[in-house]
Structures are given as C-alpha cells and as structure tokens.
C-alpha cells in the first residue's frame, strides 16, 4: 500500500473521529487519564525502586569496589593489597567519584563474658567510611568510632545475643595471614539498627589500624576500597576506566557484580509495574471497543458504498483502525503533556508518603519519593497505549470489512 494513500486515509479517519464529538472526547479523556496515571505511577515507582537499591548500596556495598584480584571469588584474609592510601587518592581524583573508603575485612569470632558469635569484622577509616556509607547514621545508642582507640560498633541484635551493653568489653579473634590467631579487646561504643536484621547480627566495625595490627598486616594494607559515585549509573563507565588504569593484580567491581540479587530484586519490582500497564490497558480497551463498535455499526451503509466503489478490505480495515490509533496517539500526547508538569514538580519537591513511612522504611526507602523518568517509560507509554487503542479497533474493524456492499446499502 502506498504511503500517500495512508496519509490520505488518515485524513479521512481524523475527520471521522469528530463526527461524534462527544463519544470521541469520552474515549479520548479515558486515554488521557490512563497515560497520566501510568506516567506518574511508573516514574514514581522507578524512583522509589532506585532509591531503595541506592539506600541498600549506601548501607555497605557502595557503587564500585576494588579488591586484589581473586578476593571477591574467595575472600580470604591473605588476599590484601598494599599502597591503599595512594590508590585511594588516585581513585578519588576521578570526577564522578564522591568518596572512597578503605576497609580491612575478616571473618572472626566476637566473645563477651556470656556468649559469642561469628561476625564479619570490618576495619574502617571512620572519617572516610562515614562519607561513603550510612553506618554512622544508623546508631541507636552510643557514638561513632574514633580513629585510634580499640572500639567496636555492633548491631543491637548482636549486643542482645552477647548480652553486652555500651561500655562493655568484647574480645575479637580471627585467623591471621601468618597462620596465627590474632585477638584484641574492644570496647562497645555504639549500637546500630539497620533495615537488615542479618546485618545487625553479623557486622562489627572497628578502626582500620586496629584491624591491621590485630591481623599483622602492613600499615598500608587493605582488602577493599569502597567507592561512592555522584550517580549510580556511572558505575559501569568508571569500572571500565579504572580497570584500564590499574595494575592487573587489582579487580574493579560494580554493585551489579557484588550484589546481583539486589539488582534482580530491583528489576523485579520494576517489572511489577507491568501489572499496572495491564490493568490500565484492559480498562481502556473495553471503552475503545465499545466506542469503535458503535461508530462502525452506524456507518455500515457508508462502508457498503466504499466497498462498492472498490475500496479493498485492507484499506477499509486500515481506515477504521487508524481512527482508533489516532485517538490513542492524541490521548497519549495529551496525557504526557499533562503529566510532565506534575512530574517536574514532584521531581523537585518529592512526594511525601509520610503515612506509609513505616512500611517504606522496611523497604529501605525514606518517606519522600522522587519520581524518575527513564527512556523505558517514554517508550512504554508511547507504545502500549496506542497499541491498546489499535487492538481495541480490531474487532470493530473486522465487522466493518465483512460488510457486503449490496446488503449494507439495501438496509436503508
């Protein structure tokens, strides 16, 4: 079919739309509302889900991590790297990097006078760590680490298990690279509570220098550099660039490599949005079928004349489905036009869901949600809604093209 005849038919279809202005406006406004709701819902959902992931990353994982190659696959204490400070400065110089913190990590045992438990000991540089992660803000009792003293932060749950309080002493023990057992006494100075019970049961933060001393590591050693970016989406690019500039003994990972499950969970949440698309699509399609069917049935004699003149079935089908498609496209355009200012407002001031803040906190989200517009949403709304409109025209168009010209014109 030649393109110019499609244009010509679209013009006729457009005029046909306005034959019954009221009916068209009703269908059109349902499409507009559908698109409006979809765009705001999807942008808010996307924003929330990304916030969720980001909050989880900012608890401990960060956006990018650097280890000695092989550490990630098998995190044993002897796989540390040297020159941690120089490396940290080099990474911090990258423009998209907001903060970098070194860590010494080891699995060990924490014992009180009453009980003991296996923990992940995390040696942190207190100042740098507080710039990268939220841990300093999760304290429910006591205070954050000072740089030098033998102090430990543990989760509320671990404290309960060990039956210790602020100010009590605990003994940390862990295997050293030299095969000996390192141990040291720490004073509990702070208790934290995060969204993750697991985290609160198994993590213990101590000053990095104490950790090095206890494990017999050189003073410039670290197991991990954690990097926080201005924008999580820059992680892949930074990884590629860093990896190219660093010696091969070091391995750069993004959060995707480190916590693929969290990323999957985010994608799953994002996909739940398609349920909303489905619901809105189904709600719209019945109105469209109904309106198009009425529009077709009252024009059967006219279609009979068109067929008699020699209009092919394909073109008649096209004419009817173009009418519906035009409503879909116009409605989508208006729906977008209306939703964008609201989006812009929310993107700036956020949507305060204080009522649900407890439920949201459980998901690791603050109570103010900022919508996020992505290319995926633009595509989805522009594709789904006109497609739904077109699908809604299929049955009416099928009725139209089964018109027998002589029958239709006889039925005067």
């Amino acid at each position: 079919m030649r393109f110019r005849s499609v244009i010509g038919l679209a013009r006729v279809a457009w005029r046909n739309l306005w034959r019954n202005r009221r009916r068209t406006l009703i269908v059109l406004s349902s499409v507009v509302v559908g698109v409006f709701v979809l765009v705001l819902f999807d942008t808010l959902n996307t924003g929330m889900v990304e916030q969720m992931l980001d909050n989880q990353l900012r608890l401990h994982i960060g956006h990018v991590q650097i280890h000695r190659r092989g550490y990630h696959a098998n995190p044993v204490v002897e796989r540390f790297f040297r020159n941690a400070d120089a490396l940290r400065q080099q990474v911090a110089a990258a423009p998209e990097v907001r903060a970098v913190a070194p860590r010494v990590l080891v699995h060990g045992l924490l014992s009180s006078a009453y009980n003991n438990g296996g923990v992940q000991l995390v040696g942190v540089a207190p100042e740098a760590e507080s710039l990268v992660t939220f841990i300093a803000e999760q304290l429910v009792a006591g205070r954050y680490l000072a740089a030098e003293d033998p102090e430990v932060l543990i989760g509320e749950r671990l404290a309960r298990k060990l039956e210790v309080r602020l100010g009590d002493r605990v003994v940390a023990m862990a295997a050293r690279p030299d095969g000996q057992i390192g141990s040291e006494v720490f004073r509990v100075v702070g208790l934290f509570r995060t969204v993750s019970a697991d985290f609160d049961r198994t993590m213990a933060f101590i000053p990095i220098d104490r950790a090095r001393a206890m494990l017999g590591l050189p003073p410039d050693a670290a197991h991990e550099l954690v990097v926080l970016l201005d924008d999580v989406r820059q992680a892949d690019a930074l990884k590629t660039r860093l990896q190219a500039g660093l010696p091969d003994t070091l391995e750069v990972l993004t959060y995707r490599d480190v916590v693929p499950l969290l990323v999957m969970q985010r994608d799953l949440y994002a996909e739940m949005m398609y349920l909303i698309y489905l619901i809105i699509g189904v709600a719209l399609i019945f109105g469209i079928i109904n309106a198009m069917l009425m529009a077709v049935m009252e024009r059967l004699p006219e279609f009979g004349v068109l067929r008699a003149l020699g209009m092919s079935e394909g073109r008649l089908f096209l004419l009817v489905s173009l009418e519906s498609l035009l409503i879909g496209l116009l409605g989508t355009a208006i729906g977008w036009a209306l939703s964008l200012p609201v989006y812009a407002y929310l993107a700036r001031y956020g949507l305060d869901l204080a009522v649900f803040s407890e439920a949201l906190a459980a998901f690791g989200v603050g109570s103010v949600i900022y919508p996020r517009l992505t290319l995926r949403i633009v595509w989805n709304a522009w594709l789904t809604i006109p497609l739904v409109a077109w699908l809604g025209a299929l049955y009416p168009a099928w009725r139209a093209l089964h018109v027998e010209p002589i029958e239709a014109m006889r039925a005067v």
Binding site: G8, V12, R15, L306, R307, A308, L309, G310, I406
Partner: protein
C-alpha cells in the same frame, strides 16, 4: 461472444436464498453493453433492476449463467479482484448514501483517485477539472449536508466519472429528486455520454427518466420483456 462488449450477461439467474422463502429475482437475462451506450433498465418495483445492475457491476455473482466484463468471467474472480475491477473500471451512482459525509465535494471526488494511488496534486487537479466540467465547481468545498439532493447526485456523478471508467452504473439516481432536478441530472449524464463517450447504464421506473434512454430494456418479474432502441 461479442468482442466489442464491455459487459455481457448470458442466461443470468439470481435467487436470493437468505429469507424464509427463496426469491427468484432474475430468471434468465441475457444482454450486452457496448461502448458509448446510454441505456436505461426500466421496470416496476421488484422487477430485478437493482439485482441486474449489481451483477453487471461485479458487486454480486449470479446463481446461474455468466457475466463477462471485458471478456473476463466474473465468477472466476475473487472478492478482492472484483473490488479492484470496480475501482478501476466501473463508476457507480447510487440512490442514497453516495457521499462520505465528512468530506467536501472535492474530497469525495478525489477519494476514488486516492484509492487508486494517484498523487495528491494530480488528484486535486483532476477532481477540480471534473467538477468544473459538470458546472459544479462552486460546490467544491461544500460538505454533503450543505448541498441539495440534486447537487449531491451531481457530485456523485462527478465521482463516478473522474477516473474515466469503462462503464458507469446508476441505480435509480433520480429516485430521491424532484422531477426538474432529476431531468437536469440526466442532462448532465447525457452530456458526458455525448461529449466524452462515457458509457451509462441506469435504472428507473420514472417515465420522464426512462424516455431519455437511447436504449430501453423493460424488465418484468426478472425477465427482459422487451427492448427498444431510439
């Protein structure tokens, strides 16, 4: 078979079998239409005029007998091929519902050319030309509801001839018009026939219209009862 014929019907019968009782609308009709004819099919209501025109116009197929259009047996063509034949070879003027209400006279005339895939500029030029020729250029930008019945039928005639079809079929084109307007429509058709050789076959039961035909086929109870030539 007549090699000159545009359309030729041979012993055509048509039985409508969709109601409670089968209706035999045509009972063995044979006729030939040659280029340049100005033929009227006359007969009382229910005599089979519309049925016959529908068969000649490839809108329907006979129950028995054959219809050849330019030598081609219409029964051998698919629905799609018959639609194509109508689009390129036959012009139609119906009694009612002729024009697309949302289109202007000019656009209605253009519509056939649009379906034929003629480029927009040429469409416009040819449609305007035909409207001017038929003396209804001033109607070009009017919608059907802004025109009288007679004006609408003139536009329908313009649409029927704009693509220079081999044959124009008009089923009671004047039935909805008063007699003066009806006569003026016939003047128009006759002028096209005389000046441009457009072949017309139309039906009517109005004596004033029937007497204008140069060839008269009298239909009664599905048979050609008598034929006259002037």
């Amino acid at each position: 078979m007549n090699p000159n014929a545009i359309v030729q019907a041979e012993q055509v019968t048509k039985i409508y079998d969709d109601g409670a009782v089968p209706v035999q609308a045509l009972r063995g009709v044979s006729l030939t239409i040659e280029p340049g004819e100005f033929t009227v099919i006359a007969g009382p209501s229910g005599s089979g005029k519309t049925t016959l025109l529908n068969l000649l116009g490839a809108l329907d197929v006979p129950t028995d007998g054959r219809v050849f259009f330019e030598g081609q047996d219409l029964a051998m063509l698919s629905r799609r091929e018959r639609a194509r034949l109508r689009l390129y070879k036959i012009g139609f003027v119906f009694q009612a519902y002729n024009l697309i209400p949302v289109l202007t006279a000019l656009e209605n005339v253009e519509f056939v050319l649009l379906l034929q895939g003629v480029p927009e500029r040429e469409r416009r030029r040819r449609a305007l030309e035909v409207l001017e020729q038929l003396g209804i250029g001033e109607l070009a930008h009017k919608r059907p509801h802004e025109m009288s019945g007679g004006q609408q039928q003139r536009v329908a005639v313009a649409r029927a001839v704009v693509s220079r079809p081999r044959l124009v079929l008009a089923d009671e084109p004047t039935a909805n018009l008063d007699s003066t307007t009806g006569v003026r429509l016939l003047d128009l058709m006759e002028q096209l026939n005389r000046e441009q050789g457009v072949t017309f076959v139309f039906s009517s039961h109005d004596p004033q219209v029937i007497e204008r035909g140069r060839r008269l086929l009298w239909l009664r109870d599905g048979r050609i009862e008598r034929e006259e030539r002037k």
